[in-house]
């Protein structure tokens, strides 16, 4: 038996509906909101600013700190215990590492750029929503960036390669199982700055999934671009 129709009726290469908005948190130096299906990320960027404690300062260039947090009511009915945990710490790290290749902090020795990512609701694909959203917020904060970063989870459900899995799909029960592959792509070069995999695939399926991720990330880049342009267009009138 093969996977004929997706659980929410989408096409296999179709993402969930996307909303993107820039400048949602007025006091922050840069901010953005990104919603894909039921997963919603809010990002606030503060800085560059002075880094305390001082022993963390790097005299050669500025550092990036990413704070990932799921709100207590954000999951599927079970309260997410507030405060950091092993998972959020790891995700903060992978999100930072996927953003660092495009950000130039050489002009800010001893300083820090803080990125706070909050999820009011989650339905799988949070790390990808976080990366896509954080890239918009960092651009809004006026940082020197060679490009944006757009991330999407691709994967395999039974025998089909699909884009943007939601929670029900990740938990789909079938003989061949489900594989979830979050990918962050730098759109201009097609370079991959985040690649993780949960499950098993063949080499052919993996390459097929990566091609799909590249196609989807180009669409995400257009979404980021129009969201950023929209914020500053209003002030022109």
């Amino acid at each position: 038996m093969s996977y004929k129709k997706r659980v929410d009726g989408r096409k296999f290469d179709e993402t969930r509906p996307i909303e993107a908005e820039v400048g949602v948190i007025k006091r922050a130096d840069g901010s953005a909101r990104f919603k894909i299906g039921q997963t919603e990320a809010w990002v606030a960027v503060y800085g560059p600013r002075e880094l305390v404690p001082r022993f963390m300062q790097n005299p050669q260039k500025g550092i990036l700190r990413v704070h990932y947090n799921m709100m207590p009511f954000s999951g599927h009915g079970n309260r997410v215990r507030p405060g950091g945990n092993r998972r959020s710490k790891e995700l903060g790290m992978v999100i930072r590492d996927s953003l660092l290749p495009v950000i130039n902090l050489n002009d800010f020795p001893n300083a820090v750029v803080d990125v706070f990512i909050e999820f009011p609701q989650t339905d799988a694909g949070t790390r990808c929503a976080a990366v896509t959203c954080a890239a918009m917020a960092l651009a809004d904060a006026g940082l020197v960036m060679s490009d944006m970063v757009a991330a999407i989870a691709v994967g395999r459900v039974d025998d089909k390669i699909v884009a943007d899995l939601n929670y029900d799909e990740e938990a789909y029960e079938c003989d061949a199982g489900v594989t979830d592959i979050p990918v962050a792509v730098i759109p201009s070069t097609g370079e991959i700055s985040l690649l993780q995999m949960d499950g098993i695939t063949t080499k052919k399926q993996l390459f097929e999934a990566l091609e799909l991720a590249k196609d989807v990330s180009k669409k995400l880049y257009e979404v980021q671009k129009s969201a950023l342009k929209k914020k500053y267009k209003v002030s022109e009138a």
């Binding site: 500025g62 651009a139 960036m145 759109p187």
Partner: protein, 247 residues
């Protein structure tokens, strides 16, 4: 064949292709990758002949030599004051650059500038490690007494000041307020008349919101004339607080 891919004076996003071909040159905020010139930050594209550069519209203030800023005293040390500059780095005002008066050795420095005092000061140097030196020894640089501080986008400050200070002197003339605009996005206002002070704040916020549109000076003039009911004569060469610190 070289070709411009994005229109001049439009908003560009990091990674966006601005031009192709080797006939265009990348300048501030842009970079070349292969055959393309791409945007390296968010901003407005400026084309000057063959040179492409980006004018920033967001982000924090970055200290530059020669800027006049408004700072806040956050620490008093052996030989000067540490000053908050609304940038990623705090600055140092050395004793010898602070005053022309004789200051006795071991004198209580808080008598000159105390904690939380706001000062108008000039930036004399910025090192590669972003150590900033300030001076108070130039005309117009002083301690600010009374009044209030408002924050504006540092990239909109040139519009608030206007050509040769035309915009800010127009607001001063119309409202009778004392106004000092720091390059770092802090603006100090002081007036006997609270209503006029609020009008000045409203005007500055209006300029900030409409900074990228043309014919702004005329619109602000009209706005101020309507609000105050007085006619404003165009005066551009009036004395104003803001000036470059000569080196």
């Amino acid at each position: 064949m070289s070709e411009l891919k994005t229109k001049e004076k439009t908003i560009v996003v990091p990674g966006e292709i601005l031009a192709t071909g080797m006939d265009y040159l990348p300048s501030y905020g842009t970079y070349r990758e292969g055959d393309h010139i791409r945007a390296g930050k968010l901003g407005i594209l400026n084309v000057d002949g063959k040179v492409l550069k980006i004018t920033s519209i967001s982000g924090r203030y970055l200290p530059k030599r020669g800027d006049t800023i408004i700072g806040k005293v956050i620490d008093v040390t052996m030989n000067g004051w540490r000053v908050e500059t609304n940038s990623p780095y705090s600055a140092m005002l050395m004793l010898k650059d602070a005053s022309n008066e004789f200051i006795e050795k071991g004198a209580n420095l808080t008598r000159i500038f105390n904690f939380d005092d706001y000062i108008v000061c000039g930036i004399t140097s910025v090192s590669s490690q972003r150590l900033i030196d300030l001076t108070m020894k130039a005309p117009g640089l002083r301690k600010l007494r009374g009044g209030q501080i408002m924050e504006v986008n540092t990239h909109k400050v040139p519009r608030i000041i206007g050509k040769n200070g035309s915009m800010v002197s127009m607001i001063k003339q119309a409202t009778g307020c004392n106004i000092v605009v720091g390059q770092n996005g802090w603006v100090w206002l002081n007036s006997e008349d609270a209503k006029m002070e609020l009008l000045a704040i409203e005007t500055i916020k209006k300029i900030e919101a409409e900074a990228t549109s043309s014919g702004l000076t005329d619109r602000i003039k009209e706005f101020l004339e309507k609000k105050t009911g007085k006619k404003i004569e165009a005066r551009t060469t009036e004395h104003h607080e803001y000036r470059e610190v000569s080196q």
